[in-house]
């Protein structure tokens, strides 16, 4: 599922805006409803007072000038009483037949009355009937209300009220819309402000300088929700910088490694030109320069190999399988048998059943490099011994050579890229000092430890100690 490419800001706005609309609308409806009910109650009160005034003969409504006319009085005062419906102005809208009450007639709020009012509504106006009948005893003489009981049902057209209500609703909607716009603007600003930490992070990342400063995001100054993100970004930065550093170091070392033969070629040729001695000396200089170029070529090749090896050996080996060490070392011994016998060396095997989990190709390179070195540095007729087997809860494999012992001062640097011992360089053994670096890289990959120590009077032992399989597995 592909999410539409929306901004976080837009999403937040889209989520909050409907909720806000709903709240505003509900509030508006409630407000309008309440107001209308109040208006209606006020309307009813007024009507009631008006009616009472009208029927009691005062004939004056609170809004003045309402007078009950004689005709109405007469009819209203007819013996037996009758019901009538008056409008607010005192006009008789409906009058019950004479004797209506005596006949047991109809309750004021009977169906007939309602029906009649409905027909009134049909004439184009809505009428409000008072929710109760008004009973008034007409004053006969003097001010004492002793006359016959008159009951009236009062109705008044609602048009004025309805108009007022419509206006109020319009106004409410207008105000509501205005409020909506205002709050939307506030929301917009609030969301923007709320998203500020993200922008701050972005600015910080933009200005993060190179690896020297080791600048990172300050996790403590990032809001809680963004903290895991910041942590991940910091982790990523660290990894990237680590890689850049490694790359830089590699490039620097490679450049240095290339510089040495270039220096030699240059100095040889320039010196030859400068001294201009015999023809033979010139030829020797050319010969030497050619050999140096050869060395340069080999170094370039090794660099390529290492670059490839680094690419081949990323964070973890891709194919992990059960590797039998005796089998692996045995096949390697066969592969190097020819090279060894050409130098009169013998390869002895002391292999005990032991297996580890790991990347077979990488392990082959590890032990291949060790064996290659052993063949290179062991003198003629030397003995190279391959050993493997369980030891002290670990699995150990070792390559022993018959070469001159590596000086103790060189040992710590042995597994560094481009390191070549002084005696190696002096003896003009070809190589770029990468084999052991690669071996160490592979060992690291398998959580193994690679060490070098002197063995016996002559020779060196390179030991690879793997953690034992059941406890810990290779990555």
């Amino acid at each position: 599922m592909r999410a539409p490419p929306r901004t976080l800001f837009f999403r937040l706005l889209m989520l909050t805006l409907p909720v806000e609309c709903l709240v505003l609308a509900l509030f508006g409806v409630w407000l309008v409803h309440r107001t209308e009910r109040r208006d209606l109650a006020a309307f009813d009160d007024r009507l009631r007072i008006q009616t009472q005034a009208m029927l009691s003969g005062a004939g004056l409504g609170p809004e003045g000038g309402l007078r009950v006319d004689a005709d109405l009085n007469r009819r209203a005062l007819a013996p037996g009483g009758r019901a009538c419906v008056l409008d607010g102005r005192g006009l008789v809208l409906w009058e019950s037949p004479r004797g209506w009450f005596e006949a047991g007639g109809i309750a004021p709020y009977s169906h007939q009355v309602q029906e009649y009012l409905r027909t009134l509504r049909l004439r184009g106006a809505d009428f409000r009937i008072l929710d109760s009948a008004t009973r008034v005893r007409r004053p006969q003489d003097g001010d004492e209300p002793t006359g016959p009981l008159v009951e009236a049902i009062v109705a008044q057209p609602l048009s004025g009220l309805l108009k007022g209500q419509a206006e109020f609703r319009e106004r409410a909607i207008a105000v509501g819309l205005l409020l909506l716009a205002l709050t939307a603007a506030l929301l917009w600003a609030a969301i923007r402000a709320g998203l500020n930490p993200i922008r701050a992070m972005e600015r910080r990342l933009k200005t993060v300088p190179g690896p020297e400063g080791r600048e990172r995001l300050d996790e403590a100054r990032v809001p809680e929700e963004l903290r895991p993100l910041a942590r991940e970004i910091n982790g990523l930065l660290d990894r990237v910088w680590g890689l850049v550093q490694r790359e830089k170091r590699f490039t620097a070392e490679a450049a240095h490694e290339l510089r040495t033969p270039i220096t030699l070629v240059k100095s040889t040729l320039q010196t030859a030109l400068l001294t201009r001695r015999s023809r033979e000396e010139g030829e020797r200089a050319l010969q030497e320069a050619l050999e140096d170029l050869q060395r340069l070529e080999e170094t370039a090749e090794s660099l390529l190999t290492l670059a490839r090896a680094d690419a081949l050996l990323p964070e973890g080996p891709r194919r992990v399988e059960e590797v039998s060490l005796p089998e692996l070392l045995g096949s390697l011994a066969e592969r190097y048998a020819a090279a060894a016998s050409a130098k009169g060396q013998t390869i002895a095997l002391d292999l005990h059943a032991a297996s580890i989990r790991g990347d077979r190709a990488a392990l082959e390179r590890l032990f291949g490099n060790l064996l290659d070195n052993a063949v290179k540095y062991s003198g003629r007729r030397g003995t190279i011994t391959l050993r493997c087997g369980p030891a002290d809860g670990a699995v150990v494999a070792a390559v022993e050579d018959g070469g001159p012992p590596i000086p103790a001062t060189d040992r710590p640097h042995l597994f560094r890229q481009f390191f070549r011992g002084a005696s190696t360089r002096a003896a003009d053994v070809p190589g770029a000092g990468l084999g052991l670096a690669i071996a160490a890289a592979v060992a690291r990959l398998h959580d193994a430890e690679i060490t070098c120590e002197r063995c016996g009077g002559e020779g060196n032992r390179f030991t690879v100690r793997f953690p034992s399989p059941p406890e810990r597995r290779a990555p």
Partner: protein, 228 residues
Amino acid sequence: MRALIVEDETRLARNLKRALETLPTFATDVLGDGGEAWERLASGEPYDLLLLDRMLPGMDGLELLRRLRESGSRLPVLVLTALGTKEDIIQGLDYGCDDYLVKPYDTGELLARCKALLRRSQEHPAPVLRVADLCVDTRTHAVARGARSIELAALEYRLLEYLAFRPETVVPKAELLEHLYDYNWEKFSNVIEHYVWSIRTKLEAGEEPRLLHTVRGSGYRLAGESAP
């Protein structure tokens, strides 16, 4: 003048020695080990110039330099190394070397820098040395008296240049011996007398007044007029 080359790459060291010895100025020694070089320098062997690699077996070049400066030596040092980043160069100069050249270097430039270092350390920055009407050009190694140019053998030139850097000064014979020959040379004191005689002959071939004076029991002195 004597130069010491400390460089572990044997062929490069040989090339350096050959290049330096194309200049008649220098008698050159080569060492491939930093520790050995320090011993040689600490023993007071009188060198006039040191060409120093940085990554050396025995003792790191900069460590050697540090010890050398700590011992108060004013020996001009040119660091010649493949470590050529800005930081490396700054570090090298801060350790007290006088010049820093990154490999692969240009031999011509290296020689020019060596000559410049030498002039500076001898407190004589002008490339042409003049004593009375004698001219010694340290760039071309041409020697002339007035308008008359003089052909000198390499060792003759070396001796004359050494004295020309110190006009009016009595230079003992032992000092001359120490500064004109490399470490492996059999030092016979009468060679100096032989060369002095030979130079004097060439300098006075046009009946000019004597410049190279013998100070009895002390040494030699290159000066316009006779003993003060």
